[in-house]
Amino acid sequence: MIKKNDLGRRRSFFLFSYKWRMVMPLLILMFVILAYPLAYSLWISFKNFSIVNPNQDHFVFLDQYKKIFVDSLYWTVFRNTIIFVIVAVSFELFFGMLIALSLKRQIRMTDVTRSIILAPMFITPIAVGLMFKFLLSQQLGFIPALLQSLGISINFFGTHTALITLAFIDVWQWTPFMVLMLLAGLESLPEEPFEAAYVDGASKWKTFWNITLPLMQPIIIVAVLIRALDGLKVFEYVYAITRGGPGNATETLQYHIYKLGFGYYRLSEASAVAWTVVIIIMIVIIAMLRGQMKGEKAR
């Protein structure tokens, strides 16, 4: 009988053992395409490099960051992104839960219904952006024309509405992801607590609030985290539809970085803004994980 440990053990240096040799290509590739660019990017953000002005390439340490933090445009962009994420993710969670609960009880035609409901998340976001730009266009769009026949006139891409419109395009495309995650969670719930609640005569609403939600908390946190991190990177809808306008009303962090880096070729400043995104991401993750740990302790 061969013991499990013997499979991966060799007498030579551990990195040359069978099990490490199988991981080595991945380690090397991840170092080259992820770790090295990451370090390089941090280094660039400490300089004042710009392609249009190659002579200025000095180490300025935190100067780029200081410049960003007093830039009012940065804070506008920051605010836009946060509003976008909060609006999009909260509606995705709300609709996602409703749809997942409805689908769970579905008995007939489940495969067809699920396939259609999940379809939007597989389309390239730029196509979704253009589709809605077209659909909501004031002159040529189907929805404004329909609303006009009902006597309602909304400019979907005005100064105050554009950002919310973009958030709802995100809701259209990514609620399916919430459905996918929540449905997986709902289907793995144990049956006993629900039977007990039924025997005790608890109402459906109470059962959902006191049993389903607490049991689902871990998967809700993961789903919200994934969507929030993805939402921070929103680019395609902005690029397809508004290009940050009207004014700067829909300029998001990712689009701002694109504009700085590859519109103006101010690569150091773009990298510095990108690193502020990394900091935001780390704060979000730590906050979420803390919340989860607290929840676990309370139970």
């Binding site: 991966g8 266009s137 990108a274």
Partner: protein, 275 residues
Amino acid sequence: MRAYQKETNLHKTIRILFLFIVLIFILTPFLWVILSSFKTPAELSQPTSIVFSPVPDNWINVLTGNIPINFVNSLIVGFITVAVSLLVGLPAAYSISQFKTGGNTARFTILISEIVPSAVLVVPIFLVSYFFQINGTLIPVTIAHLTFVLPIVTWFLIGFFDSVPKSLEEQALIDGCGRFEAFRKIVLPQVLPGIGAASIFGFVLSWNDLFYALILGGEDTQTLPVAISSFDTFRGVQLGEMSVAILVSAIPTIILSFFIQKRLIKGMGGGAVKE
């Protein structure tokens, strides 16, 4: 159906009505784009017209233009990205799953690298490809796609390998298979459906990317999303062709998604940290 799962007729009606409305919300944009792709420019200026005589002009224009080239570019990038991910990810995922190589640190590193924002990586990749004079080709685009496809594919594979019983491999070793042979002949076939699902998912991710392809690709090496984004010069004349381009990019991934939806749920939770 258990007693607690029973629902009243009223509840059932509301639930089905709600799902029906959801389906309408999802399908309307698609149907409208499909209709628009067969309209003439004159008909396109009347958004609510549903009855019209369809013309294939838009489809002919798009399919004899540059879009097929962009389609092939996207295919090339997607295939190479997935192939490299499998080549590198398969043995690593196997080792991490079966021999606990690197322990939870390895699993965590793979997961966390999925979170690195594209905005951070794009500037270095741009500068390095500039240095090697490969900027504007499909090479930096493929490398950039690997940064997010490789970790997620490996993550999925770890999950699928975790579900293979260890006894299978041990039996193969006793029967005189070599270690690599046991991996190739006994374990790999067990996870083949999982490999298929992970590959399709990685391909879809690569296919759908705009940010990297827009910045790192060149005029002649546009992928499909980049080509589509240039339709945005909004003239009524182009709307029909844009509708075709949207459909050409969306239909392949929607069809592929039908094959992987069930496994996707498993894959997402599959690589989770194990004791």
